[in-house]
């Protein structure tokens, strides 16, 4: 199903076409930083009433709010307040630079004239990778988006406070790699008197084999998007809200615009210039 949407042609968020030639990505890749913050928000259309949504998550962001956040993030990543094109600082010519400069190669001239921004290069990369995965071939120089298998067993979230208890701290210190390089041959730890106790014994996993280490250090790099941090697993519960006026906890939500304030005093201040 092709997705049809209206793209803005004016304003700062307008999409500029890639200068020159570009591959157009046709992938289902969703930029996590731009993805809806709340996964349930994307299925809003399928759910008819607002209240159902609220019942699902209790805190569904409206698409307007999403757009606001996206614009804010874009703004926080920008250099100046203006678009790069609008700034346009001419590179000053050096004095005495009139002598004919040495002949540039075609490659260099192409690079200097290239008008692509990082966004365009990233699109090219995504398109290149999706083309590659379609063909099923994997080039050695270019990392596919595949992620290596996760070795570690996911750790359950640790209890709030780990009780230090009877664990001998000096013993933990001795486990610290006190010689560098630390992993020379083994992860051997000095035997401790507590090791006989199954509750207190330290378990240091064995070092991976030479072949495995070799595989780790010779793997090709990941793509730019694959290296991006994933949201924390308990992301939804982490979302905190702050007062728009003073920055304290935003426990009160404006019914009109969804903005947050900390108290009735700041609610009054917010209401005086509420945008809706």
């Amino acid at each position: 199903m092709p997705q049809i949407e209206e793209l803005p042609t004016t304003g700062p968020s307008a999409v500029r076409p890639t200068p020159g030639w570009a591959l157009v990505p046709d992938s289902n890749y969703i930029d996590p930083s731009k993805a809806p913050l709340n996964p349930t928000a994307s299925i809003r259309g399928k759910r008819s009433t607002r209240f159902e949504n609220v019942a699902v998550s209790g805190d569904v962001l409206s698409s307007r709010k999403e757009r606001e956040i996206r614009q804010r993030l874009e703004h926080l990543n920008s250099e100046n307040r203006y678009d790069r094109k609008e700034v346009a600082i001419a590179i000053p010519k050096k004095a005495g630079d009139d002598k004919p400069s040495k002949k540039q190669t075609t490659g260099v001239r192409k690079i200097l004239l290239s008008d692509k921004a990082f966004k365009h290069h990233l699109e090219d990369e995504v398109a290149h990778l999706s083309k590659q995965s379609e063909q099923g071939g994997s080039s050695t120089s270019y990392a596919g988006p595949q992620i290596a298998p996760s070795y570690a067993i996911p750790q359950p979230p640790p209890p709030k406070k780990r009780k230090a208890g009877p664990v001998n701290t000096s013993h933990i210190k001795s486990a610290a790699p006190d010689t560098v390089p630390p992993t020379t041959t083994t992860n051997a730890v000095e035997p401790s008197e507590f090791d006989v106790n199954p509750l207190l014994a330290t378990s240091i996993p064995p070092l991976p084999s030479q072949d495995e280490l070799l595989r780790l250090i010779t793997a090709p790099p990941l793509s730019y998007n694959a290296a991006r941090a994933a949201p924390a697993s308990h992301y939804a519960s982490l979302r905190r809200h702050f007062c728009d006026v003073c920055g304290y906890w935003g426990d009160v939500k404006c019914l009109k615009c969804g903005g947050r304030v900390c108290s009735l005093v700041h609610k009054a201040e917010h209401d005086s210039h509420c945008s809706l």
Partner: protein, 454 residues
């Protein structure tokens, strides 16, 4: 085949001088290698072209001549940590390395170059970079690598206070295991290093860096006090000197809350400071004063007419974004989360060595309290069997450069890694110009293999 075998033993000779460029998005860190590398030989060159309100244009190091940073507009050749705009980068490099008056003037034909790039660079940009270095600047030989990896050549044991009486010899470098966190201008990356080689599958990036924090601070100050959107340098100064990472966010936030619904609360004035903005007539830099609660809390001026910003929860709320990017709506894990995400890509057997050797570098990592908070959070997330040690490099900004300068002293290693101009002219154009890029990877892999085996 015979020729192939021969090539592995007769490495080409390199030039005498080696220039190390850590090409950061905010500052270029550059200098020549010496026998005993020292950060004093490293120059900080702003990697930007700036225009002041008097429409005067400054390129790179010329910015130090500027006396008025108000309303300044910047153009940076790097975007997201990668060189994208080569015309600007060319102008900055030329003024820094080729100009007759430049401190680091050199003849590229007689200089080797070690150049850093951010991890996970799109290949097109790598190819562009290689072409510019060899075809435009014509360096004699060149090695391009992921910036964090150079840190393995630093004196890591001394950072943790281990066997300080004998710093590691050249032959003992690179450090065997290192989890490097590089918090720079564009982003923060976690790179586990094994024998100086990055474990690429475990490299993770959080898109929060110095620029993001400065912009967030600008936004907060502009909504609460008055518009500082165009005052990048003064706001950066505030971030660097007044902001800190709180060790207990909830407690500090409570201590700075003024308005209860029913009664006014007394706030903890030890956190609140008054920041005096520079006016660029009498003062060049801002400075902080202890907060004077008698004056009204909103915008005020001192007798001399300087503007004053009272700073309370802004001081720790901005750096908090590094640990909780979700506070602002960014769907990425915080700093300690990405360390865990990176570790989960590694075999459990490497965890103790990685967790015991976490090193922080990059300008943003200098934020007060960041190391302590990170260590505490990682401690909470990992099994207590493994010791956790986090060290901040004392020269956080120049650490990568220093590592590169130390690596350059290992002539044998350099010969095995560098691609010479001769080789480039012979093969560079092959494989759609990706030959150089493939060579860097293949050679570094070969070096990594020998280090692992020997």
């Amino acid at each position: 085949m015979a020729r192939h075998g021969k090539r592995h033993h007769d490495y080409p000779s390199l030039a005498e001088k080696t220039l190390i460029i850590d090409n950061g998005a905010y500052n270029i860190k550059a200098g020549f290698s010496t026998e005993n590398p020292d950060v004093k030989e490293c120059q900080l060159i702003p990697n930007c072209i700036a225009k002041s309100r008097e429409k005067k244009v400054y390129v790179g190091a010329q910015l130090s001549k500027c006396r008025d940073f108000g309303d300044m507009v910047f153009v940076r050749p790097l975007e997201k940590g990668f060189v994208v705009n080569w015309p600007e980068e060319k102008a900055i490099w030329e003024s820094a390395f080729l100009d007759s008056t430049a401190v680091l003037k050199c003849d590229p034909h007689e200089t080797n170059l070690i150049l850093t790039e951010a991890p996970n660079c799109p290949q097109t940009l790598q190819v562009f970079c290689d072409q510019m270095v060899f075809e435009e600047f014509e360096f004699a030989s060149y090695y391009r690598c992921v910036g964090p990896s150079l840190n393995a050549y630093n004196d890591i044991p001394s950072l943790f206070g281990d066997n300080s009486e004998q710093p590691p010899k050249l032959s003992q470098l690179p450090a065997e295991c290192l989890l490097l966190i590089d918090s720079g201008y564009s982003h923060t990356t976690v790179t586990p290093l094994l024998h100086g080689r990055p474990i690429q599958n475990a490299v993770r990036r959080l898109d929060v860096g110095g620029k993001f924090l400065t912009n967030a601070l600008k936004e907060t100050l502009s909504t609460q006090y008055y518009n500082v959107q165009d005052d990048t340098i003064p706001v950066t100064e505030i971030k660097e000197s007044a902001c800190y990472v709180s060790d207990d966010f909830k407690r500090d936030l409570d201590r700075t809350w003024k308005l209860g619904a029913r009664q006014r609360r007394e706030i903890d004035y030890s956190i609140v400071i008054d920041w005096v903005l520079p006016d660029y007539e009498n003062t060049m830099h801002g400075y902080s004063l202890p907060h004077d609660p008698k004056l009204p809390f909103k915008t005020r001026t001192l007798p001399m007419g300087e503007s004053v910003l009272p700073m309370a929860n802004e001081r720790f709320q901005i750096p908090e974004l590094l640990f909780n990017p979700s506070d602002i709506g960014l769907a990425e894990g915080g700093l300690s989360d990405i360390v865990m995400q990176s570790l989960e890509q590694l075999p459990k057997g490497l965890w103790p060595a990685m967790l015991g050797n976490i090193v922080l570098v990059g300008g943003t990592s200098k934020l007060k309290g960041l190391r302590e908070r990170l260590e505490a959070e990682i401690r909470q997330n990992t099994p207590s069997d493994f010791p956790v040690r986090v060290a901040l490099h004392p020269e956080a900004e120049k650490a990568t450069w220093l590592g590169g300068a130390r690596m350059a002293n290992n002539e044998d290693l350099m010969k095995r890694l560098c691609v010479t101009r001769q080789e480039y002219l012979e093969h560079g154009h092959t494989l759609m110009h990706t030959w150089t890029n493939r060579q860097f990877q293949a050679r570094a892999n070969a070096v990594g293999t020998t280090m692992l085996e020997g």
